[in-house]
Symmetry: C2
Subunit: 140 residues, 2 copies
């Protein structure tokens, strides 16, 4: 087994390579949405609606960037805004019907891409991989 240092280097390097590739692929799959913008939409759904500031914290982005990207999503009709009943300074952002359709379609395409790439992975390896990633991100 290689040393811990070498392994850490591998993890960093491979995760970075993934990041680049994901961005590239995302640009093909949803041409009008950047990877981050798409991920914001996804997060809105996964969290059952959230505020812009939540997105900024989750993705480590400036709130101005979030504001602009949500503006894009709104212009495309992919989200709806609602006043936050708990604090009327904020707005709850949710995918619109069109946004949900886009997510559905993106999931489908992603499934194809990933299935192709991960076809020969056993369910157990896949699940363990997902578990490691979840664990890794959770510890930030």
């Amino acid at each position: 087994m290689p040393g811990r240092d070498v392994t850490l280097g591998t993890i960093q390097r491979e995760l970075t390579a993934f990041a680049r590739r994901a961005r590239h692929k995302a640009a093909q799959i949803h041409p009008d949405l950047s990877l981050v913008t798409y991920s914001m939409l996804d997060h809105m759904q996964a969290s059952g609606g959230c505020r812009g500031i939540d997105l900024a914290e989750h993705f480590l982005l400036d709130k101005s960037t979030v504001s602009r990207q949500t503006a894009v999503l709104e212009r495309l009709g992919l989200i709806v805004r609602a006043a936050d009943p708990a604090d009327r300074r904020g707005q709850i952002l949710r995918p619109s019907a069109a946004g949900l359709r886009l997510l559905e379609e993106a999931h489908r395409q992603r499934r194809e891409t990933f299935e192709e790439r991960l076809a020969d992975w056993g369910d157990e390896d896949l699940e363990r991989f997902a578990g490691y990633l979840r664990r890794y991100n959770a510890e930030g």
Copy 2:
């Protein structure tokens, strides 16, 4: 165990979240180098020297982007160029002494960051995680 689709979704989502965070952290660690530019330097070392076109293929970037980023690295004195003896159209790019020092320092800082984050991971989990990532990227 969750379904394969759900697991694939988790992998995609977590990898994407990582990508954003990595970019953010990289901006702190090496202020004058973007994550990708730093990764290029790292790849030059890991591969024992490579051409610009190799970097473009590896990171799925346009060669013009690579050209500009390598220009940045050269301006900072972090790389040296040498004619490719096998094909004199190309240039072999390698970290300079200063580039190696920067990598060394970055590795040290990364080790601290990752060690903090991955402190409670056993060597076996760490190695398996690295293995999954390598395998994942290799299948592209």
